[in-house]
C-alpha cells in the first residue's frame, strides 16, 4: 500500500500538477456536482413566484417550509418511505443470499453446461425491464400477489448482475487460498462464508448500494403492480408532481426530490469509503 502515494504523486508530477492545483480542480468538480442538489434544496424552500427570477437566487428571499407541508398533504409520503425501505431491503436481503451461492458455483465449480448457464445469467442482465413487464405481471397475477409489497420484490430476488460481479470478485481470490482452506478442513459453504465473502466485501457493498439505488428509483414496475397507496413507494408519490400538460409545480416537486433522495445520500455518506474502495480494488497484492 505504501507504494501507491509515491506513484500517485509521480503521476501527478508527470501531468504537471501539484497537490494545490489538484485540490482546486477537485473543488471545482465537486461544486459542479453538488450545485444541482443545492439548487433543488433552495427551490424547495421558495415561494412559487420566487422560483423564476431574472437573476438566480441561491438563498430563498422568503424561505418557507410550506412546500414540505403541502407534499405530505398531497400524498402519504411517510408511508411511502416505509414501503420503499421495506421493498428495497426485502430485495437486497434475498439477493445477498442467492447471488453469492450462484456466483460461488460459477467461479469455483466446473460442470457440463456451466458456461452456457452463465451466459443465460448474462442475458438476464441485458434484458430491459420493459421487455419482461407483461410476463412478470402474468406470473405475479397468477400467484395472486398483485398490489402487495412482495410483488415489487419478487422479480428481483435473482440478479444476473450480482452473480456476475461476485463471480468476478471470487475468481480473483487465488487458488492457494482454497487449497490452504481445504487442508484445514474448510470447504464448500464454510469456505464461501469465511474466506470468499470477506475478501469480496467491497464488491458486496458496491452491489448492495447499486441494488438499493436501482430499486429505490424504480418507477414503472411498482406503478404497474400496485394500486393502493398503502403499499406504494416514494417514486410514485413523486410522480404526482411532474405533469405532462402543465409542466411541474417546482417548489413542491423539489421538496419531494429532497425528501426522496436524502436517505440515499445519507447512506452513501456512511458507506462512501467502502464504495470507492470497491471500485479501486484490483485483486490481491503480493
Amino acid at each position: 500500500m505504501r507504494s501507491r502515494p509515491a506513484t500517485f504523486s509521480a503521476a501527478l508530477h508527470r501531468l504537471g500538477l501539484n497537490r494545490l492545483l489538484l485540490h482546486m480542480i477537485l473543488l471545482i468538480v465537486s461544486t459542479i456536482t453538488a450545485a444541482p442538489y443545492f439548487w433543488a434544496l433552495s427551490t424547495s424552500l421558495k415561494l412559487r413566484r420566487d422560483v423564476f427570477t431574472p437573476v438566480p437566487q441561491w438563498i430563498p428571499p422568503n424561505p418557507t417550509l410550506q412546500n414540505y407541508v403541502d407534499l405530505f398533504y398531497m400524498a402519504p409520503f411517510g408511508l411511502f418511505l416505509v414501503n420503499t425501505i421495506l421493498v428495497v431491503s426485502g430485495i437486497l436481503v434475498i439477493q445477498l443470499i442467492t447471488a453469492p451461492l450462484a456466483a460461488y458455483v460459477f467461479a469455483r465449480l466446473r460442470f457440463a453446461g456451466s458456461g452456457f448457464l452463465f451466459g443465460l445469467f448474462l442475458v438476464q442482465m441485458m434484458m430491459p425491464i420493459h421487455a419482461v413487464v407483461v410476463p412478470n405481471y402474468l406470473t405475479i397475477n397468477a400467484m395472486g400477489l398483485l398490489d402487495t409489497r412482495l410483488a415489487m420484490m419478487l422479480p428481483f430476488w435473482a440478479s444476473g448482475y450480482a452473480v456476475f460481479l461476485l463471480r468476478q470478485a471470487f475468481r480473483q481470490v487465488p487458488r492457494d487460498f482454497e487449497d490452504a482452506a481445504l487442508i484445514d478442513g474448510c470447504s464448500g459453504l464454510r469456505f464461501l462464508w469465511h474466506v470468499l465473502l470477506p475478501l469480496a466485501k467491497p464488491t458486496v457493498i458496491a452491489f448492495s448500494l447499486i441494488s438499493v439505488v436501482t430499486h429505490w428509483n424504480d418507477f414503472l414496475w411498482p406503478l404497474i403492480v400496485t394500486d393502493s397507496p398503502a403499499v406504494r413507494t416514494l417514486t410514485i408519490g413523486l410522480a404526482m408532481f411532474v405533469q405532462q400538460e402543465s409542466g411541474a409545480d417546482w417548489p413542491v416537486l423539489m421538496a419531494g426530490t429532497i425528501f426522496v433522495t436524502l436517505p440515499l445520500l445519507l447512506l452513501f455518506l456512511v458507506y462512501q469509503r467502502k464504495f470507492i474502495e470497491s471500485f479501486m480494488y484490483a485483486g490481491l497484492k503480493g
Partner: protein
C-alpha cells in the same frame, strides 16, 4: 387542550363512521344488493393537488351510492397510465374504469379492451348532446360512442401585455392572423448582439405535434383522418404550416427552434418570451407565478381559426362483470353532470366538457373574475378532435422527429413531412399485417 379536542373529534368521526356502516349494512340487507367495487385508473395531467380533488369527488360519489365503491388508483401521467392499462388488460385483470389520453382510443379499440356506451347513453336523453362536439370527436367510431370526455384542454396563445406596451403594441390586442403573429414577434424579439434576450413567440416543444395539428387546422387541413383511414402528413396545408414555423424559427429567428413542454411556461413567466403557445392547463400556474399582466387568446388564424383538443376520456372495460359495467356507467354519468363538470373545471383549470356547465352560478362567477377561462371554451367552436391512430406512441415519434428536424433547419419542411408520411404508411401497414 388541543389533544383533548382532537380526541373528541376522533371520537365523533368514529361514531359517524360506525353509524354510516350500520346504515349501509341495514340497507344492503333490506334490498339484498351486493356492494360493487370498481377500480378506477386516473392520470393527473395538470399541476396542483388534483389527486386530492379526484379522491374527494370519488368519496362523495361513494357516500351517495351505498352499493358502489369506486377505488381511485393514481396511475402516473398519460404514458404510464396507458402502460398500466395495457399490462392489466393483457394480464386478464382489467380496471373497471380508466381515464386514458384521447389519442390512445384506437389502440384500446384494436385491443378489444373497451365497450361501446350507446345503450347507457340512450338511458339519459339529452346527456351526450350537452358535450362540446369537438370533445366527442375522439370518442366515436363507426357510429358508436366509446368514451366520455373528462379532463380536456386545448392550446391557446398567451401574451405578455407589459412586453406589448413596451414595444408600442396595443397590450389588449393579441395577433389574430399568422401575418400579425410574425410581425408582432419580430417587434417583440430583443437582442444583445446576436444573443436573443427575449423571443417574440415560443411554440413549445415536447408536445409540438399537438400544437402543429392546430396550425394545420388553421390552414384548413388535417393530419390523420381516422374515420376515412387516411394519413395526410405531407398535405399542402401541413407543409404550409411547417414552412411558417421554420420561417419564424430559422428565417426571422424570432422563436426558439428547441424547447421542452415543461420549460416554456417558466420562460414566459421570466419574460424570456413575449408570446407562448401552450395548453390551457398552465393558466393556474401562470396566474400564480407571473408578476406582469398577461392574456390568453385564440391561436391566430391562417385561413381560419383552429385547434386540436387534448386530454383524457373515460372508458369502461370489457371482460368485467355486467354489474361492474353498470356501476361504472353510474359513476361516469354522475361525475360528468353539469355540477361536477363545473366543479372539476374550476378546481383543475381544465375546460368544462359540457356547455351547460357554464350556465351554473359558480362557473359564471369564475369566468366573470377570470375571463381567460372562456377563451378556451370559445375556441372550441373552431376545435377538432386530436389525431389518433393505433400504435399512437410510434406515430407521435415519427411526426415529432420530422418537426424537430425541420425546426432545427436540418431538412426542408417538405422533405421532412414526405419522409414522415412514408414512415407512417410503412408503420401502419406493418401494424395491420402483424394483427
Amino acid at each position: 387542550m388541543l389533544k383533548d379536542r382532537r380526541l373528541r373529534y376522533l371520537g365523533r368521526s368514529l361514531l359517524v363512521v360506525v353509524a354510516a356502516v350500520g346504515l349501509l349494512v341495514s340497507q344492503a340487507s333490506a334490498q339484498g344488493e351486493r356492494l360493487v367495487r370498481l377500480t378506477f385508473y386516473y392520470p393527473v395531467g395538470v399541476a396542483g393537488p388534483l389527486a386530492r380533488v379526484v379522491d374527494g369527488m370519488v368519496q362523495e360519489f361513494n357516500a351517495e351510492h351505498p352499493f358502489i365503491e369506486v377505488v381511485p388508483v393514481y396511475s402516473g401521467d398519460y404514458d404510464p397510465t396507458m402502460m398500466k392499462v395495457q399490462t392489466a388488460v393483457r394480464g386478464g385483470n382489467p380496471p373497471d374504469i380508466a381515464v386514458v389520453e384521447i389519442s390512445e382510443f384506437p389502440t384500446l379499440l384494436a385491443m378489444g379492451a373497451i365497450i361501446p356506451l350507446d345503450d347507457y347513453i340512450a338511458q339519459h336523453p339529452g346527456y351526450i348532446d350537452a358535450f362540446f362536439p369537438a370533445f366527442l370527436d375522439n370518442s366515436q367510431f363507426e357510429g358508436q360512442v366509446w368514451g366520455i370526455p373528462f379532463q380536456r384542454s386545448t392550446p391557446v396563445l398567451y401574451w405578455n401585455k407589459a412586453a406589448f406596451a413596451e414595444v408600442g403594441l396595443d397590450p389588449e390586442s393579441p395577433p389574430t392572423t399568422w401575418t400579425e403573429l410574425a410581425d408582432y414577434a419580430q417587434r417583440l424579439t430583443t437582442r444583445t448582439g446576436t444573443d436573443v434576450t427575449r423571443w417574440g413567440v415560443t411554440i413549445s416543444g415536447g408536445w409540438n405535434d399537438w400544437l402543429f395539428e392546430g396550425f394545420v387546422r388553421q390552414s384548413g387541413g388535417q393530419l390523420i383522418d381516422f374515420h376515412g383511414q387516411e394519413v395526410k402528413f405531407n398535405s399542402p396545408e401541413a407543409v404550409e404550416a411547417l414552412e411558417f414555423w421554420v420561417e419564424l424559427m430559422q428565417g426571422l429567428k424570432v422563436g426558439p427552434p428547441h424547447s421542452t413542454w415543461a420549460s416554456t411556461p417558466p420562460d414566459f413567466v421570466a419574460g424570456r418570451t413575449a408570446m407562448l403557445y401552450h395548453s390551457t392547463g398552465i393558466m393556474t400556474f401562470l396566474k400564480s407565478s407571473a408578476d406582469f399582466p398577461f392574456g390568453a387568446a385564440f391561436m391566430p388564424a391562417n385561413v381560419t381559426y383552429g385547434a386540436a383538443v387534448g386530454g383524457g376520456n373515460f372508458f369502461i372495460f370489457k371482460d368485467i362483470p355486467q354489474e361492474n359495467q353498470d356501476a361504472a356507467w353510474t359513476f361516469i354519468h354522475w361525475i360528468t353532470s353539469p355540477e361536477k363538470a363545473s366543479y372539476w373545471s374550476a378546481a383543475s383549470g381544465y375546460v368544462a366538457v359540457r356547455a351547460d356547465a357554464y350556465e351554473l352560478a359558480e362557473m359564471q362567477e369564475l369566468v366573470t373574475e377570470h375571463p381567460e377561462y372562456l377563451v378556451a371554451r370559445d375556441q372550441l367552436a373552431f376545435g377538432h378532435g386530436k389525431m389518433m391512430a393505433p400504435v399512437y406512441q410510434r406515430v407521435r415519434e415519427i411526426l415529432k422527429s420530422a418537426l424537430d428536424d425541420a425546426q432545427a433547419g436540418l431538412v426542408s419542411p417538405r422533405v421532412a413531412l414526405d419522409r414522415a408520411q412514408e414512415e407512417m404508411e410503412r408503420t401502419l401497414r406493418s401494424w395491420i399485417q402483424t394483427r
